[in-house]
């Protein structure tokens, strides 16, 4: 299983590791949802998590920002090491406050979930809780909206309610909101599953542009999407990581039979 020893993939060695998942198990109560996951996340690359429904890809994604801590009965075992090789720290450690993790790792959800506040307030919220000054926030709101290709559409109505935007605009706003706080990694949980094809295209375009600034981890149901946006792909099945490799390799000549069956549409 290639996934077991990602360090051995020769083609990948020029890319820097941003995070490393090591021997990760995850439990929803008694339900053993993730089993011995090992994989790297490379800096300033897009890594896609694919697999059939219930394979654990969203569960794995939500380990990265300790979202599971919000609900009782969830348990992690193993490590997700974050940072440069010298100062890697395990973000799953009980000594690490999940709030601190979420300060560094942003997230965009399946369904656009802007706050029922103004467009401005949506972006400003994350900055406010970090204690930034008013003028800094003003600048950052504009910068983030430009960055998310939304500025021209909303610059004259920053005080309007965000929920009145279209679905695609709302999702770009959510991306701008997550990016405004300069995260190290941004997590996307099927960000286009609630959007029409044109809005999907604009989100995908945005993800491709974002990777210069941030490391991207994206869960997707859509294999074409994984091909279009990602550099690396992890194929998961029944809570295990079956194969991790470059996206080109996973889709062109996967090493494992299950991967081949899935990407060729034989199951899933």
């Amino acid at each position: 299983m290639v996934g077991k020893n990602p360090e051995n993939i020769s083609a990948l060695q020029t890319d820097q590791t941003k995070a490393l998942v090591r021997n990760l198990d995850f439990f929803y109560g008694d339900n053993h949802a993730l089993k011995d996951i090992n994989m790297p996340v490379y800096a300033n690359k897009v890594t896609a998590l694919i697999g059939p429904s219930g394979c654990g890809k969203t569960t794995l994604l939500r380990c990265f920002n300790r979202m599971h801590d919000l609900y009782p009965g969830n348990r992690y075992k193993g490590e997700i090491l974050l940072g440069e090789d010298q100062k890697q720290s395990n973000i799953l450690s009980k000594q690490v406050d999940p709030i601190e993790v979420r300060m560094n790792i942003g997230m965009v959800f399946q369904k656009p979930n802007p706050f029922p506040k103004s467009i401005y307030e949506n972006i400003a919220y994350g900055l406010k809780i970090r204690g930034h000054s008013r003028s800094f926030i003003d600048d950052k709101v504009e910068y983030s909206l430009r960055n998310a290709a939304l500025w021209d559409e909303v610059k004259d109505r920053l005080q309007d309610l965000a929920v009145n935007l279209s679905g695609g605009q709302q999702q770009r706003l959510c991306i701008a909101r997550a990016m405004a706080t300069d995260p190290e990694i941004i997590l996307f949980d099927e960000p286009t599953s609630a959007l029409d094809p044109i809005a999907t295209l604009s989100i995908e375009q945005l993800i491709l542009e974002l990777k210069d600034q941030v490391t991207v981890l994206i869960v997707t149901h859509n294999m074409q999407q994984a091909v279009r946006v990602s550099n690396y792909t992890a194929f998961m099945y029944l809570g295990r990581l079956i194969e991790f490799d470059t996206t080109a390799k996973i889709f062109a000549k996967p090493a494992v039979k299950e991967t081949a069956d899935y990407v060729s549409g034989k199951f899933g």
């Binding site: 920002n65 919000l70 979420r102 942003g106 959800f109 979930n113 919220y125 809780i129 929920v163």
Partner: protein
């Protein structure tokens, strides 16, 4: 043969429709019992009491003389008592609701508290009167004052405020909470900046429904010893001399509208019955006003809130 069976079917259908028509008539009649009674009651009250409502009625104290009697001390008393009730019940109820819904660990103690809070809302109000008599009047020596009355009604409506607060904040979807947490918010920041503001419409509705219940309560206030004949006003909260604000009104004896009504109804002279009807009209009017305010506030708060 065939036409005969078709006839049978038609007969069956006709019977079924007849039964249905019967039930509809029964339903309408049942409904009318409630509606007609209510309308008759209100109409009777308005016809009897309506003509008596005048500026004089609002600005006169009660009197031995039915024509001179008014509700000044009663409506001022109701207003002051409501003010104390709101001031006590709103923060206590909302804080308890937030704690129970967001922070309390979900175990058997929480379940027990939840069942008790729900049951408290159904406890007869006179029981609260007895509790208040023992606690505020005898133990704390607060006397039969505006303060005691306000606190008594606050305890009475507290369960309603707690339950509606919980329902209102439970209605804030988890996707919104997760959006807040994902940005690095603490739990309190999430509650403070999102859950509470988005649930505020529902919370306010609950608060006002609670207050409109409190405004009509009589039994617990009689239990604590409210006077039925008050021919003076409590000290004004605003004074012309330093320090301009006075809290003496809190310790003043009081009466409220329903007690004034009760007092008039229990008199033998028929003229006082008319006064009671007029006070009833004012009480109904006040309740409608409060409920109207609730609807308006809910509309205002929910205008911008969609998920």
């Amino acid at each position: 043969m065939k036409s005969e069976s078709a006839k049978d079917v038609h007969k069956l259908i006709a019977w079924a429709k007849l039964w249905q028509a019967g039930f509809i008539i029964l339903g309408v009649l049942s409904l009318l019992v409630g509606i007609v009674t209510l309308v008759a009651l209100l109409a009777d009250m308005f016809i009897k009491g309506g003509p008596l409502i005048s500026w004089r009625f609002f600005t006169s104290f009660p009197s031995r003389n039915a024509e001179e009697a008014g509700i000044l001390s009663a409506w001022v008393g109701s207003l002051l008592v409501m003010f104390v009730t709101a001031l006590a019940a709103i923060p206590l109820g909302i804080a308890s609701g937030i704690y129970l819904e967001e922070y309390a660990r979900k175990n058997w103690i929480a379940d027990l508290i939840e069942i008790n809070v729900a049951n408290l809302a159904g406890v007869p109000s006179i029981i609260y009167g007895l509790l208040a008599l023992g606690l505020f009047v005898y133990a704390f020596h607060l006397g039969d004052t505006v303060l005691t009355a306000g606190l008594t009604l606050a305890i009475l409506v507290l369960p309603v405020v707690i339950v509606t607060t919980r329902e209102a904040i439970r209605a804030v979807p988890s996707s919104i909470r997760e959006a807040s947490y994902a940005l690095g918010s603490s739990k309190w920041q999430t509650i403070r900046s999102h859950v509470l503001p988005y649930g505020m419409g529902g919370i306010l509705t609950g608060v006002i429904v609670a207050l409109s219940r409190a405004i009509g309560e009589t039994a617990p206030l009689i239990t604590i010893g409210a006077l039925t004949f008050i021919a003076f006003l409590p000290d004004s909260p605003v004074q012309s001399q330093f320090p301009y604000i006075s809290f003496a009104w809190l310790m003043s004896p009081f009466t409220v509208l329903p007690i004034q009504m009760f007092n008039w109804v229990s008199r033998p002279q028929p003229e006082f019955q008319l006064n009671a009807a007029a006070a009833g009209v004012v009480l109904v009017g006040m309740t409608l006003l409060v409920n109207g305010l609730a609807i308006y506030l809910r509309y205002q708060f929910r205008k911008g809130i969609k998920w």
